[in-house]
Subunit: 312 residues, 2 copies
């Protein structure tokens, strides 16, 4: 299968490596020149559960994309704010039957994707795999994970199941979901609390969780996500989601980690994905006339931090 | 006039010094032992508009208060969270005619004070004087200022005007106001935006003002203060108050200063007065069934910071 990984950061590299090793015709597309150069010269290096491996996978910059061979599948793994540009860049690879699988964090990406692809070819999903970028051309891939995915177009359930099969044949442990929006909103609740609050307060998840107001803040934010989700027909189990979010506080498991937004914004002064997490809930809330003041203010405070830190 | 300054920090020291020099019988009461010791041994030292002066003013710890001589006037200048305890401590000094003038920052202090004093003896006010604490027993007093004050009890206008006269005779430039709640809410809007936002974002006022979301955040917070004030019969001119708040952004005037909450919390890891500023609006909002989500979250975030920094 001719597969394009559009956005070959840590997680895109994992999928690229596993699908390549699984016998697929994989090409990586990424906008970071040093990373692309390193992969082109030395292959994509990975510490894969303790074993050092090198995969020689074709790679190109978005500007190098040509439409000679169309893709069967494009897996989107960009940062949210790079999605529209990437779709524009890979447009020459899209044929009538090309399927798009969006595995980005955050919510509402289908609104962007459907400007480029007919709904029946769009699939969205959610992954529990992890991956770390060590440097240009080098990643660290530990542990196990899974993928859930679903068709957005009507009557495309078989295509979705087939897509899950393709991923699973390469070890990616993918399953068809009949309620992917639930999983996406549930995961967005984790990102919509831990990411912004740890970044604003300059703490890890356990430290935030140890503050007295943490629980009330989490409950209010999850309720805003749930109100917007409900308007879209997704009925979140609020108590379960709050408990799921608060499991991140445990210092014995992942509590001592800093979420990705903290790494991006506070450590590396990069622009964040806030507009596709809390900011998306704010926008949807405005559209549906549902008040989302906590998401509004948290989004504003992260944008303040971006301005203050000169994030790029 | 027998005057007690209850809380002789920077601002209490200014009032104590000026009223003492104006010929009043002033006694300072303060809970900081090193400060009390220094004043007792060396007098209260001040750089008073460039001139070094020392005033020998009686001073005591709250635990040393005795009821031998009752006070004509007690001026309250504690931190908000110390108010109730101070009122308890100075109770022996209160006679039937003792007047209380509350000049604390923040809103809603009358709810605490009226537990100790009949309403007709309570006066509240607002000061534009500034003062800085250099160290135990030593303050810095520069520039000019003013005081506005009003009676809370009915038919006490003359007493309020008389109180203003007493302060003015010592150079404190005090005026009777027929709408003190307006001034207090207007000033609270400055504290309710600059204090918490600069502390949360770790910036001075000009740096906060330079962020893109600053204006929208200020407008939303001021609207919450105004909605609660309106319920109490105070009709804030929102545009004027927003402009007043945003005048703090100017780096050519006071923009490069860090507000007092920043000094307390971020520099000195002290507990803040947030519960008497945004937190008071939240409490009043709950009571009046007016939503105040921005004040709610800002209050929670400051309490998170207090927990994280181990503030005392």
């Amino acid at each position: 299968m001719k597969i394009i990984i559009a956005g070959a950061g840590a997680m895109g590299s994992r999928f690229g490596i596993m699908l390549h090793r699984g016998g697929n015709d994989v090409t990586l597309v990424d906008g970071w020149p040093a990373h692309v150069d390193a992969i082109r010269q030395n292959g994509l290096k990975a510490n894969f559960n303790g074993e050092d491996i090198t995969e020689h996978i074709p790679v190109m910059l978005p500007s190098e994309v040509k439409g000679d061979t169309k893709a069967d599948l494009i897996i989107l793994f960009t940062k949210s704010m790079q999605l529209a540009k990437m779709l524009q860049d890979v447009k020459p690879l899209i044929a009538e039957n090309t399927k798009i699988l969006c595995l980005l964090n955050g919510i509402g990406h289908e609104d962007t994707i459907e400007k480029y692809i007919p709904m029946e070819n769009i699939f969205i999903g959610n992954t529990m795999w992890t991956a770390g970028l060590v440097g240009p051309g080098e990643v660290k891939l530990f542990g196990n994970g899974s993928v859930e995915l679903q068709n957005l177009g009507q009557n495309q359930e078989d295509a979705a199941k087939n897509l899950a099969k393709v991923l699973s044949e390469s070890g990616l442990n993918a399953k068809y979901s009949d309620n992917i929006h639930y999983s996406i909103y549930r995961k967005a609740c984790v990102n919509g609390t831990m990411n912004c609050l740890c970044s604003i307060l300059d703490v890890n998840m356990a430290e935030f969780g140890a503050t007295k107001p943490a629980h009330d803040i989490v409950v209010t934010v999850v309720n805003e996500f749930a109100a917007v989700a409900k308007h879209e027909g997704v009925d979140l189990d609020i108590d379960e989601v709050v408990a799921h979010v608060e499991s991140c506080f445990d210092p014995e498991t992942i509590g001592k980690h800093y979420p990705s937004m903290y790494q991006d914004l506070i450590k590396n002064n990069r622009l964040t994905e806030i507009d596709y997490i809390n900011g998306a809930v704010s926008r949807k809330g405005k559209k549906y006339q549902i008040p989302t003041p906590y998401c509004d203010l948290l989004t504003q405070l992260i944008h303040c931090k971006e301005d203050i830190l000169g994030a790029k």
